[in-house]
């Protein structure tokens, strides 16, 4: 027992030295997290405040002008005005503007007539699907505001709508997408460290032939597993702390849960991620293939299938089933809750239990596969 502990200790020390000496491990553990946080905190934003749109005023009567003014003054749009839609089509094609609002020449006239409808066309560039949705959404909001004001000015043009909907957003009142992007990106960073880095460590030993050397020593199967995971576990936790610091202090991300719950959930997730990385590297034996597979089953799911950015319920059923097997799905839920809501323990316990189950399954597979390889 004592010997085993000593051997494990030596292995951890060796792996630790390798981490410290290889600049690429430091790159993953420190530079990448900060880079990612920077990208998600500063570069990527889903808050579309300065949508560039074109406004085609075929009609210049006061009604049309007052409508145009409401769009120009809206904080969501940067408006470029034209008299003919043909002037704006090249800009729409090269993606310089995201949509056009067309006020037809007969607009004011039709508005005064009792039995006609005066239309305003909102044309969005559908090749940018999300942006197109928001062009329509904000155009609708600006339009409703305008109608309310118009009606307050004169009784002639009909009543404002009696029933209206008033949206309110809890946990993120000012609707800053970076709040949920930043908290979710922690899951991506943990995956990078856990899966990508460990995927490379065992396959590297095989490729360089040092695995045979390791096998010929009295080191046991579980000691190899421990030696390969424990140093990376600590590396992951260190980088988690860096992320916590950067996102709360520099990016002013609210932190409404507790440190305890954050580290508990992170530890469980990290165990899953390490398990995936180790399994991949045991199975593939070649670094370039290990890294490809790690990207596909580790990184991409954390990015796409975790619900961090894309809504799981909107995906096709076969992909929804896939997401249940992704540990990142459970971790992202915990993270967003810890940062923005607070400690919701029932939610955490459920997710932790699932992550621990997946970890158990992974390490069971690892022990089977590793045993076989050692016998070969």
């Amino acid at each position: 027992m004592f010997n085993s502990f000593q051997r494990l200790n030596a292995l951890i020390k060796k792996e630790g030295l390798q981490i410290v000496r290889d600049p690429s491990s430091i790159l993953i553990a420190v530079v990448l997290p900060v880079l990612l946080l920077f990208l998600y905190g500063t570069g990527v934003s889903l808050d579309l405040d300065h949508l560039r749109i074109g406004l085609v005023l075929e009609d210049t009567a006061p009604d049309a002008r007052s409508f145009a003014e409401s769009f120009v003054n809206s904080r969501y749009f940067d408006v470029k005005i034209a008299r003919d839609r043909r002037e704006l089509i090249p800009d729409l094609e090269r993606g310089k503007i995201r949509g056009m609002v067309v006020v037809p020449s007969y607009f004011s006239e039709f508005r005064r007539l009792p039995d006609t409808v005066a239309p305003i066309q909102v044309i969005a560039d559908g090749s940018e699907a999300n942006t197109a949705n928001f062009v329509q959404y904000y155009a609708q909001a600006a339009f409703s505001n305008w109608i309310q004001q118009e009606v307050a000015d004169s009784e002639l043009k009909g009543l404002p709508p009696l029933i209206s909907a008033e949206p309110r957003f809890w946990y993120n009142e000012t609707l800053e997408s970076r709040y949920f992007l930043l908290s979710g990106s922690l899951a991506i960073i943990m995956t990078l460290i856990g899966t990508l880095l460990t995927a490379l460590v065992v396959s590297r030993e095989w490729e360089r032939g040092t695995m045979e050397a390791l096998i010929s020593t009295p080191v046991g199967k579980w000691e190899i597993v421990g030696g390969k995971t424990i140093p990376y576990f600590f590396l992951g936790m260190i980088s988690m702390s860096i992320c916590l610091f950067v996102s709360t202090v520099i990016y002013r991300l609210p932190f409404r849960g507790s440190i305890l719950s954050l580290f508990l959930c992170s530890a469980c997730f990290l165990a899953c991620a390490l398990g995936i990385g180790l399994l991949v590297s045991i199975l593939s034996k070649i670094q370039i293939i290990a890294s490809q597979i790690a990207l596909i089953i580790g990184f991409l799911p954390a990015y796409i299938l975790s619900g961090f950015l894309f809504e799981i319920a909107s995906m096709p059923p076969w992909i929804q089933i896939l997401t249940y097997f992704m540990p990142a799905r459970y971790f992202v839920q915990c993270l967003q809750t810890i940062f923005l809501v607070g400690n919701v323990w029932p939610l955490f316990w459920k997710n932790i239990a699932i992550m621990l189950f997946i970890t158990g399954l992974l390490f069971f597979l690892i022990s089977r596969k590793l045993a076989k390889r050692l016998d070969e």
Partner: protein, 367 residues
């Protein structure tokens, strides 16, 4: 001749080994399929909650309309306001529609009535779209209610239309972007690994003592990457346009030209990463560190005009920025040649710069 032999050898190295052949063809295809269908910011099948504290007829009618749309998978009735907190906290639903006790009475008195939509801000993008849908339902009901009570209404309407992708199909948007992103990834991986692998295996010294000049070695490392990267782009094009039904409205020649210029610009970056790294692992990480910002800042995920203004000029240096506009434009918008060339030309100086800078650096390391 020597050069051709080297290029041929490099292509064989990548394409002959079945495992590395698979790793070049299969992963991008898997990514294409999963990305194309999973990365949707569309909102469907959402679960919502309803708190109805009004017993009147109007509230009931309005809520029937929520039941009538296929947008919501499940509608859960909550007993009171105090249940909204736990419901949203535990993410049982994305939004709660709340109708207060005065609702029907206000409407009967022809006073304005509000419907509150309480949304989960943890996913503000989704819930903003969802609340847009809900507001539309409320508005439709309002129009019918006002018509029924013969109140004079607004006759001005907004007519939404989407060009180039009329039904906002996310796969169209994703696939056209992925064509660019994945050909970039493949080219980078091939070029970045090529030198690093030889260095790690020690065969690089053999190459140096061969009668090839440094320039020939260089070209021999770059050309296979360009060919494979462009080939990947065409494979994606074939799968996207042929199999997945994305319309291809533009000219295939212009597409090929843009792809070639784009991949050349990328291969210079690949060579640079390759000459910097001593092992394959480092090359892989270098690739990754380059990929992340260029994908996230190129306008792939979010529009460039959303970024802080000091960050926007940097995006002009990213070849992917131009290729995304080109790929989307040639696929969906039948982009005219004049605009295609306008977007291609900035990539040419970038390509010249990356190729010559990395060659210089590479040669210095050789000598």
């Amino acid at each position: 001749m020597k050069l051709l032999a080297l290029i041929w050898k490099e292509l064989l190295v990548v394409l002959r080994d079945p495992r590395s052949r698979i790793s070049i063809i299969l992963p991008p295809l898997i990514q294409l399929f999963i990305f194309a269908y999973a990365s949707t910011l569309d909102v469907k099948n959402a679960t919502i909650g309803i708190v109805n504290r009004d017993n009147g007829e109007q509230a009931f009618e309005l809520l029937q309309r929520f039941h009538g749309t296929p947008l919501f998978k499940e509608i859960i009735y909550l007993k009171g306001m105090e249940e909204i907190g736990p419901f949203l906290d535990a993410q049982k639903g994305l939004m709660v529609v709340s109708i207060d006790a005065q609702f029907s009475r206000d409407l009967d008195a022809r006073k304005q009535a509000l419907v509150q939509l309480i949304c989960d801000g943890r996913r503000s993008n989704t819930t903003q779209i969802l609340s847009g849908y809900a507001a539309e339902i409320v508005q439709d009901y309002n129009n019918d209610f006002m018509a029924r009570s013969s109140l004079k209404q607004q006759n001005t309407v907004l007519v939404p239309r989407n060009w180039f992708n009329p039904n906002i199909l996310y796969p169209w948007y994703n696939i056209t972007s992925l064509v660019a992103v994945l050909s970039m990834l493949t080219c980078l991986v091939v070029v970045a690994q090529s030198v690093a692998r030889e260095r790690e295996m020690g065969t690089f010294d053999q190459l140096l003592v061969s009668p090839l000049s440094p320039l020939e070695i260089l070209v021999g490392k770059i050309v296979p990457g360009i060919l494979i990267g462009a080939g990947e782009g065409f494979l994606m094009w074939a799968v996207g346009a042929g199999l997945l039904g994305v319309p291809f409205t533009g000219s295939i020649l212009l597409f090929a030209l843009s792809l070639l210029v784009f991949v050349s610009a990328i291969s210079g970056v690949g060579l640079f990463i390759s000459s910097l790294s001593a092992t394959q692992q480092q090359a892989m990480l270098g690739t990754f560190v380059f990929m992340l910002p260029s994908v996230l800042l190129s306008g792939f995920a979010t529009p460039i005009e959303n970024m802080p203004s000091w960050l926007q000029p940097i995006t002009y240096l990213m070849p992917l920025r131009y290729m995304l506009i080109l790929s989307k434009g040639i696929f969906l918008k039948a982009l005219p040649a004049s605009i295609v060339f306008e977007q291609i030309w900035p990539m040419i100086p970038i390509a010249l710069f990356t190729l010559s800078a990395s060659s210089l650096y590479f040669r210095r390391r050789l000598e």
